[in-house]
Each structure stands twice: as structure tokens, then as C-alpha cells.
């Protein structure tokens, strides 16, 4: 646990989601956390104005359909709390598939987690995919100089280069009912964030049954960064 200033009102929660909770959107996850923290009677700091929201900051939005083994959330309080107090208060108030792994103090003036984000790793378990063929497909993809893909939403007529966002791809066999595990490390910086479903589409695996889990977040400044 970090030895930080215990009077800080900013806390960092490392958490994991799995099962059904992997299928909620990042907005849903924010709402879900707000409600869980309210049930736990954590003294959250709210914004001013006519639609007050609690101040919560995720490190990087978790894609819908993706669970996580290690995500971070910063919360701001109105009065100081020990990490252990928060952990105790959260017992019994979290939905079944949300787990808190670690709670630490963070200096109020520490940079936002999202500013420190460098890369994210994912593990995608796939069904009915041959390991050798997938290895070959990944090698081919990594040899490409550019992999242009359409952006989403309103900018869908524009393209971006997915290749620049892929740092590594690694394929291993997986246990039943899965056949292959694809580990990927993708860039995750403002305006340059790789999405695992885009990589799967580029590999021709858009329709393959899968289970996607975020396995780690990597931050730039080790001094302020929690250990992944």
C-alpha cells in the first residue's frame, strides 16, 4: 500500500469485473459505481450546478463486452477516509461481479489516470479458431505498414490506422470451450486508443464467439503510477 498523505481526499480503487458485468457500457459502469459507493455511504464529492455528479475518473474506458482484471478508478471525497474503511464499507454493496482489489491514497494534485495511460493489454479467448492459422494471421497483420479502418459514430466516413495502435500480438492454445487465446498490447493514449474488437475484425474474427478480458493498464510515469 502506498505511504501517502492520509489527509488527501482522493482515493484510487483497483477493481476487476467479470461475467455479466463485462457486458455493460462504460457509462453504465460509471452509474453502477456511483450507486455502489452511495450504498456504501462513502462521502462522495459532487460537482456543482444543476445536475450534480460525483467526481469519478476511470483510467481508460472499458469496452462493452470486456471484463477486466485490473482497472483503476479515482474517487474524490468530502471528508478523509482510511482505505480499509472504504473497503469495509463496500462489503455487500458491490454487484456480484465487481471486485475491489486494492485501495490507496492519491495526492489531490496527481495527474489524471487518463493522462498517464500508455498501453492496455487484453486477453481474448476464442472458439473454433485454429492456433496455427491465427498465429499466421497475426504475423501477416503485424507485417502490414498500415491497416486502415473506419472510425465509429459520426466520423465513420474517416479512417484511422489500426496498425500504429498494435504493439504486440501473441497467440497461445486455450482450454475448453475455447481453442485459442490472443494476447494483445494496444496503445491507449488520448486520440490513439486501440480497441480489441477492431483487432479481431482486422483478423477476420468479427463473428467468432469470444471472451475478452483486460489484463493490465500501463502508465507513463512510474512515480505516480500504481503497479499493474
Amino acid at each position: 500500500m502506498n505511504e501517502q498523505n492520509p489527509t488527501t481526499l482522493r482515493m484510487r480503487l483497483k477493481f476487476a469485473t467479470s461475467g455479466p458485468l463485462a457486458y455493460v457500457s462504460v457509462l453504465d459502469l460509471g452509474r453502477l459505481w456511483e450507486r455502489a459507493l452511495r450504498r456504501a455511504a462513502i462521502p462522495l464529492r459532487y460537482s456543482l450546478g444543476f445536475n450534480p455528479r460525483p467526481k469519478l475518473q476511470f483510467a481508460a474506458p472499458l469496452p462493452t463486452g470486456c471484463g477486466s482484471e485490473a482497472d483503476w478508478l479515482d474517487i474524490w471525497l468530502t471528508e478523509p477516509r482510511e482505505p480499509a474503511e472504504i473497503a469495509t464499507a463496500l462489503v455487500g454493496t458491490l454487484p456480484p461481479d465487481l471486485h475491489v482489489i486494492e485501495i490507496t491514497w492519491v495526492p489531490e494534485d496527481a495527474p489524471a489516470l487518463s493522462e498517464l495511460m500508455q498501453a492496455v493489454t487484453y486477453r481474448v479467448l476464442l472458439q473454433d479458431v485454429d492456433v496455427t492459422e491465427l498465429k499466421a494471421a497475426c504475423a501477416t497483420l503485424l507485417k502490414e505498414e498500415n491497416v486502415l479502418r473506419a472510425k465509429r459514430g459520426r466520423r465513420r466516413h474517416q479512417h484511422y490506422d489500426l496498425r500504429q495502435l498494435i504493439e504486440t500480438l501473441n497467440v497461445t492454445p486455450a482450454l475448453e470451450p475455447w481453442t485459442a487465446a490472443l494476447e494483445m498490447r494496444l496503445r491507449a493514449q488520448a486520440g490513439a486508443t486501440g480497441r480489441p474488437d477492431e483487432v479481431l475484425s482486422a483478423l477476420g474474427l468479427a463473428d467468432v464467439p469470444r471472451r475478452c478480458t483486460r489484463t493490465g493498464l500501463f502508465l507513463s510515469s512510474p512515480a505516480d503510477a500504481p503497479s499493474p
Partner: protein, 662 residues
């Protein structure tokens, strides 16, 4: 034959030919579909406060179904109440299911995956009872889709005791005839007590064939079991009545009510994804005393029963703590009528300051009191203020018994704009009985007048949103004798409105006529509609309330194919069912159901409507609708019915007060 199969089933599941419909679906299997569909969070459960009981720890398993999307179904409070009541019992488990969106339905059908419940992932077919909401008519085709996706035969006569007992209930059950071939039974009225009586009795009949099981339920008040009745028709293809086929079958079937409102569910299920009404709910009042003649809910939820302010405040804090919601909605048909509403809101505002807990109050009246209440709730956040005058002229408002005068409405609108609201939403109906084109033009005039007031007091940003629905004469109301307006009339009146509500500051929305006419058909139809609904569903009709999914061609084709056989022609069917004004002695397909409000009263009120007479709010004076006569022995202290003239004051008030909370 049937009971042998049933014994087999009881002895061992492995010999049951349907055993694949009984085991839970592995999570991994469900997961294989989820990347293909929009909003997969609808299909996974895992919500906070959902109740997971071991399957073998109970004697009766009930699946509660809302036959539309999770987003809507999770907002249905009736099912929340039943989930709470049923799961309080140690010998019962209740789970939930909803109809998946078309993309998920397609994926499930492709993989042969049956509809499952969100708690245990057990197929719906594995439950002992499947209770499906019949809250409104647009759920009817979805109900067939739900049964079929569950792997169940859709017709009751094709099912036996191996299948779940399929029960319906909700406001749509006040004319259950169009769906009577698909359900084993309907709960008529409030289900809180009768559902437990039903479970109790049903659990003792497991070894009987289905028909015999149903016979044992005949003496439970409030259950309508359609197979024990048959319907007759005249040579002119009109409906001629329903009669019981067994001496035990009750006639009429009297609506069940609860004398005292059930305790508010506190540990409400908190959805993981955003739903239509994403907030905690407290039913502060049931029933309504205004007597609007078009309103079915106002009749079939009588009498008015209030929850005390003290209990509501207690509930607010308990729900907030148990759910984490930052908003609590107060549910009622007319919130400002609650006798303690003002002190209730004041107390809550004092006690909740700093808690970031907001409240919403639906269905406010058009009066200064309601404006003050709304302002207290809104604070600085004034999105839009809603008025529901329903009709724009005095004469028409007399017909529908909506007692608001235009000058009062204008004064109150002034108050609304003065207090800072910039958007006024107005609800109107067209196609009302006795309506003329002038009445409709008056809607546009009123909207312009209101905008002028808004601009004067608040500036040119003032917006008037006019929402127009088409009147459907609902069963069990004073307007059940009235005609449904034809397509040409409605088209002409919609055009009149659009032409006169153009330009800056107006927004008009309306219900499309073809959809409303299907609603009218389904709400007024008799047993001959079952085959037509089934055929429309086969041809692809479902999600009838959804613009993007509903299928008019399927309905038109089903009518073309089947109307000649049962009505002579499509035109006759439409005329007989919808477009005809009825005479006093008309026999309706829902006459065998008694809401407690008597036909005699409704007919008098219909005559008052034609004479242009208001009938006052019945809080002050009892108009003898029939409720007090039929439910006198259930009267509790929180009823807002006055004592009928000449009667003794209720002697059981003290007792009723003490019974309030178990």
C-alpha cells in the same frame, strides 16, 4: 395418459423428453451470442438485489415475464412488487425474463437456445408457473413470440401439465378475450394476494392433468379461466355473450383488490444498464377520484388508497440506502391529490438536503398547487412543465369530464412561465366522442395563446410541445359505448393541426393511426381475435409499440385471410369491433368481468357525457360507482372514498389501521 407423463416427470428429469429445456444454460453458451447483439447487458442478469435461490430449495418456481425489452420491463413496477412478495416466501422462488430484441432473438433461434430466466439461466419452460404481463395490447404479439422462444406451444390446449401454467394479468386483462386461447388463466385485478392463493392451490395439484388442475382453481376469487366459458355471436357477426360451461365457473368474475397497499419493495433490483425509468419507485397512491371518462386506469384501480407520508418518508431512505439510486419516483395516477403531498415534499426536501437525492412526481394536475409542488422539486432545474388538458374546448372537456377552464389554464401557464420554465408540454387527444374540426383547431389556438404568454414572460426561447394521441374507447369505461374514429377523420384533423402549429417554438408529435387502430381492435375485440393475432404473429407482427420493428403488412394480411371466416369481411370486422357506436343494451366481450364499478354507473356517466355534464371528483361526495358496495368488507383507513350518504361510519377502521404492516 397425461398424468402418466406427469409422474414420469416428477420421478426423474432425465426421462423427460424436454429435459434440455430444464437444465440451466451454461454461461459460456450465453456468452457466445453476446458479441453479436446490441446492448448485451439486457441478457445477462447479475444485478444488485436480484434474488438467487437454490432451485431445489423451494416447491414452486415462478418466472415473471414482461413481453418487451428488458429496458421497459425493468421499469414495470407491478412485476417488482410480485417479485418481492413471492420471494419473501421460503417455499417459492421468482425469477425474471423479458423479450429479447430482434437481433438477440435471431441469434438465439439460430443456436437453438430457448428463452431463459436472468437469475438461474434456466429455460423459462422449466418453471412451474410463467406469469406474463398483459399491461397493454401492444404486448400481445410479443407474448406469442415469448412463448415460442421459450419452446412452449402457444395455445393453452396444446400444452399439458408438463408445461408451466401460463398466467396473465395487468390492465390489458380487463378485456382478455383476444388472448384467451393462449393463457391458462388471467388474474383480474390486483395480484398481491391472489397470486399466493394460486400458488398454494396449484402446488397441491402437481399430479393432475392440466384441465383438472385448472378446475381446482375455479373457486379462487379474481381468476378467470377462459376454457371454462364459451362465447356466442349473432347472425350479424356481433358478440352475443359469454356463458360458463361448468356450474363452478364464477359469473361475473370479480376483480381482486387489496384493502391495504402492500409494503413498498425496498431492495429493488438495480439494473446494470440504463432502463426507461432508471430510479427507485414508491407507489404513493393507487386509484384516482377524478373520473375522466376516457381513462381506464381511473376505473379499474379504484378505490383510492393512500400510503401515509410517514411510511413514504421511511421508504425513501430505506430504498436510497438499499439501491444507491439518486432519484426516487413517486408513482400514482394523480400525485397532487395525495392528502399529505405538500408536507411530504417539504419534509423530504429538508431531510435530503446535501444527499443528492431527487424526486419525481408524475401526473400533476393543472392547478397552482401543482405548479408550486413542481417548483419545489425542480429547484433550478426546469426542463419542461407538463399539462394534460386532453381537449381544448370547454364543451369537449365537459364530455370527457376533465374539469379545467381555459382561463384558469392560461393563468396557471403564466405562473409556470413566471417561475422560469421555458418549455410547456401539452397532451391532447383527437377522435374524442362528439369532437368537431373546431375542437381540434382550438388545440392550435390554445398552443399559440400559451406561446404568446411564454414569450411575453420568458422570451422567444419559449417552446410549446404538443403531443397528440388518438382516442381509443377502452373497455370498462363510460366511453365503452363510443366509436373509434375512422382513418379519414383522424387524417383530416392531424393535417389541421400540422397546418396550424408550424413555425418556431412549436414541436408536434403524434401516434400513427394504423398502430392505434390495431390497439383499438385488440382492446375491443372478442375471442375471434385469437386466430388473427396468432396469424399476424406467424407473419412477423411483433413489437407493435415500436416504430422501427412493428409490421403493419402482417396485420393487414392476417385480417384479409381470417376476417371473412369469422366476420364476413375485413370491413365488417372493423365496423363491428371499432367504428360502431353502441346502443345501451350492447353486450360487450368483457361484460363477464366486474371491475367493481358497475355497468349501470358507467352508462349513466356516458349519458351525462352526451348531455355535457361534469361529474365532480368523488373525494367529496360518493357517486355510488359500485366500489363501496362490492368491497365494503375490505375498506381500510387509508381509503379516500367518502362515507356514502345515510350509511354508518365504517366500524373496522381501527382494525384496518392496525393490519397495515405485517
Amino acid at each position: 395418459m397425461e398424468s402418466m407423463t406427469q409422474n414420469q416427470l416428477l420421478n426423474t428429469n432425465t426421462q423427460d423428453p424436454n429435459s434440455s429445456l430444464r437444465r440451466p444454460i451454461p454461461w459460456e453458451t450465453i456468452e457466445t451470442l453476446l458479441h453479436r447483439v446490441q446492448k448485451p447487458g439486457r441478457y445477462v442478469g447479475g444485478e444488485f438485489n436480484a434474488i438467487h435461490k437454490p432451485w431445489d430449495s423451494v416447491t414452486t418456481r415462478i418466472c415473471l415475464a414482461f413481453p418487451d425489452l428488458y429496458d421497459l420491463g425493468m421499469s414495470n413496477f407491478a412485476l417488482q412488487i410480485l417479485y418481492d412478495i413471492l420471494n419473501r416466501r421460503e417455499d417459492i422462488l421468482a425469477e425474471r425474463t423479458y423479450l429479447p430484441a430482434p437481433d438477440m432473438i435471431a441469434a438465439m433461434r439460430q443456436e437453438n437456445m430457448p428463452l431463459y430466466a436472468l437469475e438461474s439461466y434456466r429455460p423459462v419452460a422449466a418453471f412451474d408457473i410463467l406469469a406474463i404481463s398483459t399491461a397493454y395490447e401492444q404486448l400481445f404479439t410479443n407474448t406469442l413470440e415469448l412463448l415460442d422462444l421459450a419452446g412452449l406451444p402457444i395455445r393453452a390446449t396444446d400444452r399439458d401439465a408438463r408445461h408451466p401454467l401460463i398466467i396473465g394479468g395487468g390492465h390489458g386483462a380487463f378485456n382478455p378475450e383476444p388472448m384467451c386461447d393462449f393463457f391458462d388463466l388471467f388474474i383480474i385485478g390486483e395480484a398481491e394476494e391472489v397470486i399466493l392463493e394460486l400458488v398454494e392451490r396449484f402446488s397441491k395439484t402437481r399430479t393432475l392433468p392440466r384441465e383438472a388442475q385448472l378446475q381446482t382453481l375455479l373457486d379462487i376469487e379474481g381468476l378467470y379461466i377462459p376454457r371454462f366459458y364459451d362465447a356466442n355471436y349473432t347472425a350479424e357477426n356481433t358478440f352475443a355473450g359469454i356463458r360458463p360451461l361448468l356450474p363452478k365457473a364464477p359469473m361475473p368474475i370479480k376483480r381482486r383488490i387489496v384493502g391495504t397497499l402492500p409494503p413498498t419493495p425496498i431492495h429493488q433490483i438495480v439494473p446494470n444498464i440504463e432502463t426507461t425509468h432508471d430510479r427507485g419507485v414508491i407507489e404513493i397512491q393507487r386509484g384516482c377520484t377524478h373520473g375522466c371518462r376516457f381513462c381506464q386506469a381511473g376505473i379499474i384501480t379504484r378505490p383510492v388508497r393512500e400510503r401515509s407520508a410517514e411510511e413514504i418518508i421511511e421508504n425513501v431512505f430505506a430504498i436510497a440506502a438499499a439501491t444507491g439510486y439518486n432519484e426516487i419516483g413517486f408513482l400514482s395516477l394523480s400525485s397532487a391529490d395525495h392528502t399529505e403531498i405538500e408536507t411530504l415534499l417539504q419534509t423530504l426536501q429538508q431531510q435530503c438536503s446535501g444527499l443528492h437525492l431527487g424526486f419525481s412526481l408524475p401526473s400533476l394536475r393543472i392547478d397552482a398547487f401543482s405548479v408550486a409542488l413542481a417548483e419545489g422539486l425542480a429547484g433550478s432545474r426546469k426542463s419542461g412543465f407538463t399539462f394534460a388538458p386532453e381537449a381544448a374546448t370547454e364543451a369537449l372537456r365537459r364530455r370527457i369530464n376533465k374539469e379545467i377552464h381555459t382561463e384558469d389554464l392560461l393563468t396557471i401557464a403564466e405562473e409556470v412561465f413566471k417561475r422560469g420554465w421555458r418549455t410547456l408540454k401539452l397532451y391532447f387527444m383527437i377522435g374524442l366522442p362528439g369532437e368537431t374540426d373546431e375542437d381540434v383547431l382550438a388545440i392550435a389556438d390554445l398552443a399559440h395563446e400559451l406561446r404568446r404568454i411564454g414569450v411575453r414572460l420568458g422570451g422567444r426561447k419559449t417552446e410549446i410541445h404538443v403531443s397528440i394521441s388518438t382516442f381509443v374507447p377502452k373497455p370498462q369505461t363510460a366511453f365503452q359505448w363510443e366509436a373509434f374514429a375512422d382513418a379519414n377523420t383522424i387524417a383530416r384533423r392531424q393535417v389541421l393541426l400540422f397546418q396550424n402549429l408550424r413555425g418556431r417554438g412549436f414541436k408536434v408529435s403524434w401516434n400513427k393511426y394504423p398502430g392505434t387502430s390495431i390497439e383499438a381492435l385488440l382492446t375491443r375485440g372478442d375471442r375471434r381475435l385469437n386466430a388473427i393475432i396468432e396469424r399476424a404473429w406467424q407473419l412477423g407482427a411483433r413489437f407493435d409499440a415500436w416504430d422501427e420493428w412493428w409490421n403493419l403488412e402482417a396485420w393487414e394480411q392476417a385480417l384479409t385471410e381470417l376476417a371473412p371466416e369469422s366476420f364476413g369481411s375485413v370491413e365488417t370486422l372493423r365496423e363491428v369491433t371499432m367504428y360502431r357506436e353502441r346502443s345501451e343494451d350492447e353486450i360487450f366481450p368483457w361484460d363477464h368481468l366486474l371491475s367493481g364499478v358497475e355497468r349501470r354507473f358507467l352508462l349513466q356517466d356516458s349519458q351525462r357525457s352526451r348531455a355535457g355534464e361534469f361529474l365532480s371528483d368523488c373525494r367529496g361526495i360518493c357517486h355510488a360507482c359500485g366500489i363501496l358496495r362490492h368491497y365494503a368488507n375490505q375498506r381500510g383507513a387509508e381509503w379516500r372514498c367518502p362515507q356514502p350518504e345515510g350509511s354508518k361510519p365504517a366500524t373496522n377502521q381501527q382494525t384496518a389501521g392496525n393490519e397495515k404492516q405485517p
